[in-house]
């Protein structure tokens, strides 16, 4: 994850990438919206901080979700990380590949490691709670510096 598509921040020996043109929330989720459908995933920072993903728990299609409510969780050896939905809507698709290859969340968090597609409702309102990559970078950096952990 390097090159012009990404912004980067370095904390000690760790480099965290933030993909441009996506939107972000403070917990470390990204959102890419197209034609009213939001693709949602975890940031490079969140996946590095969480550790090697062993399980991903996601809602089934047709499930209604509200912004701020629990969407699912990722399980690593050290913790179960709850994920709250960054937008409201209905689950259109969950990334079934993660049932077989949860490590995709670590290997390609902005690509093949996506979590769900959500058919959004009221996105104009949800959009106000999201920030651009440029705005998210210093937020993430502050979180990383505070968490500052070498292992997990």
């Amino acid at each position: 994850m390097s090159g012009e598509e990404y912004l980067e921040a370095t904390i000690d020996k760790f480099v965290f990438a933030v993909k441009k043109n996506y939107l972000y929330d403070e917990q470390g989720l990204w959102v890419a919206v197209e034609n009213g459908v939001a693709r949602v995933g975890v940031t490079d920072y969140l996946q590095q901080k969480s550790g090697d993903v062993a399980f991903v728990n996601l809602p089934e299609p047709e499930t209604e979700v509200k912004r701020g409510q629990e969407l699912g969780s990722i399980e690593t050896i050290k913790a179960d990380v709850s994920i709250n939905s960054p937008v409201s809507g209905t689950i259109r698709e969950r990334n079934e590949e993660l049932d077989v290859r949860p490590e995709l969340v670590n290997e390609d968090p902005y690509g093949q490691g996506w979590l769900v597609l959500i058919e959004t409702t009221g996105f104009e309102s949800d959009r106000e709670e999201l920030v651009t990559a440029e705005e998210y970078l210093p937020v993430m950096k502050a979180q990383a510096e505070e968490a500052r952990s070498n292992d997990e």
Binding site: E8, T10, D12, E134, N150, D151
Partner: protein, 237 residues
Amino acid sequence: MVDLPKKKVGIIACSGEEIPEGTISRVAARMVLEELSPEDTVTLCLPLFLAGDENERAFARFYPTIAVDGCEKLCAKRATERYSGPVSGSIVVDELLEGRGLSPGRSRRELDEEGQRSAEVIAEEIADQVGRLLGRKRAIEAVPVVATTAPATAGGTCCGPSVPVTQVRIGGAPVGLVALEPIFEQFCEQGRLDGAGLGEELLKTVKLYNYVPDAAEELHKAAILEEYRKFCRGKGK
């Protein structure tokens, strides 16, 4: 507001599997990271380092790194020198313990009482070296290189990717200086365009991230000041 990278010390332990001293190196490194100098240290993962991870190697290239080896084979030290550069400190567990009349214990799997005591002694030695490398007594609180009390502004990027290095001609030879551009950004933002002592201050800040031999200080100061002026002109200042 530009944030300069905080200077930290890397610790690379051999974790040798065959002898208790290898386990002691591992335990001691973690003790320093978790308890003795948590704000000032980073542990580097030797297997990852050897497997070619560029982040681990870059850190050891540009920041002071202490190698902690179980025995005279010096795997951590040699690996660092091979892939990054000279180490700033080297601790050989079996030698140090012998010198102090201590035993590594009998178990390599889980340190027994003697092994645990020895790990604590090694950890203290590492922490002392960390303090010396940072030019102070062992500190629990982080000392920021430059006060960054201003809130982070949107759109700012940190010193990425990885560690920023700029090549500067000094005394006719190219020299890589870490963090030069962020330092210049910061001075420029503060409006430090000229004035007595500017060269001295620039050099002092550069020295926080780079080793500058005493004999080469004047040459470095002159070259850095010239680069800084070019930098500011490029910014229209």
